[in-house]
Amino acid sequence: MKRLVPTAEMTLGPFFPREFAEGANDLAGAAENVVEITGRVTELDGKPLDNVILEIWQADAGGRFDNPDFAGWGRAATDAQGNYRFRTIRPGAIPGRAPHVNFLILYSGLMRQLQTVMFFEDSNDPVLQAVQPSGRSRLIARATGKNSLRFDIRLRGGEETPFFDD
């Protein structure tokens, strides 16, 4: 059977249009139980990065991915200080998985997309367990308030965030 080779991924570059980067970081809308996720994206030596594009994909509060009233997808860009912000809801558990938010990172200098996952607490989740034990804590968001979480992403060096190949 014919099998095509996926197109080679290439870097997003530094000039992803602002118009595309903005306006899609509020997944919650008028929903209740809103949670705010903020964080800073840094490179080697801890330098913050401007205009990094982050996209997230998550289940709804009931653990569903096909809710017509909750798209589950959002996009944010970092500012000049490296900070991003999402407004969303806490996802429910899905069979075999703990509540989590999938993150995709696109940027100049990244020839391929980087994938990571944010968890709400330590758990027996098979994706969290796929990470080296020493790195697991860096995939667990830190509560900074009743409805606010902090999830920093270090691309390389130091407290490097664990990333997934697929």
Partner: protein
């Protein structure tokens, strides 16, 4: 039918830290990427994205007194999966610099002139045969700051969703016959000559003043039973 995502082939995909592209050594992770099982979370995705994001500008070239400077081109881009099946309804974002090599982005400090009649960003949705068409002008080449004479060849950036979360594709399309293609650190990060060649559009013979280019974007994923290798 479920979507299956096979692992990336290191010959047809870049591997991270690339010679001649210094930023990759500051940003690509130093640790090996972890392998994870694929569950419903990775093998689902937002549908339809066109409901979430407004479609904008299928024509970047303009007309008459509002015409953008540069060679008029038409890009005919077909989006398919690894089975060759078209992906009607998938969203495609495209962006590129103007004919002088300047982006609309405020972070672009290159001293090339802006073109008041050119705004280089489009968001399109694929039609029934997976086709998107973009009327625009051919982008210029431009120097990369803080490098030893690296000039990017003319290229168009694409971002495509595909069927599921793991099929997301962000890439760049190049033009045939460009001398700068030979030394570009980004294009040449793809080591397989065939895969690299597929990142270069094909010029279609035409008799008008508009150059037509055909291109194919293959997103990851094929149909198969879950759990198959």
């Amino acid at each position: 039918m479920a979507v299956v995502i096979a692992r990336r082939d290191p010959l047809t995909q870049a591997q991270g830290v690339e010679p001649g592209y210094a930023q990759t050594a500051r940003r690509w992770p130093s640790q090996p990427l972890a392998r994870r099982p694929h569950t419903a979370s990775e093998l689902s995705g937002p549908q339809p994205v066109a409901r979430l994001l407004p479609l904008v500008r299928g024509d970047l070239a303009g007309h008459g007194a509002r015409r953008a400077l540069g060679q008029l081109i038409r890009l005919r881009v077909r989006v398919v999966d690894e089975d060759g099946a078209p992906l009607p309804g998938t969203v495609v974002e495209a962006w590129h610099c103007n004919a002088a090599g300047k982006y609309i982005h405020p972070n672009d400090t290159h001293d090339a002139p802006a073109d008041p009649n050119f705004y280089g960003a489009a968001r399109l949705v694929a039609g029934d045969s997976g086709l998107v068409e973009l009327r625009t002008i051919k982008p210029g080449a431009y120097p990369v700051p803080d490098t030893n004479g690296w000039w990017r060849p003319p290229h168009v950036h694409f971002s495509v969703w595909g069927r599921v979360w793991l099929s997301r594709l962000v890439t760049q399309m190049f033009f045939p016959g460009e001398p700068l293609n030979e030394a570009d650190a980004i294009l040449n990060a793809i080591h397989d000559p065939g895969a690299r060649g597929r990142c270069i559009a094909r010029l279609v013979p035409s008799t008008t003043n508009e150059l037509i280019y055909d291109y194919q974007l293959v997103v990851r994923g094929r149909k198969g039973a879950p759990g198959m290798p």
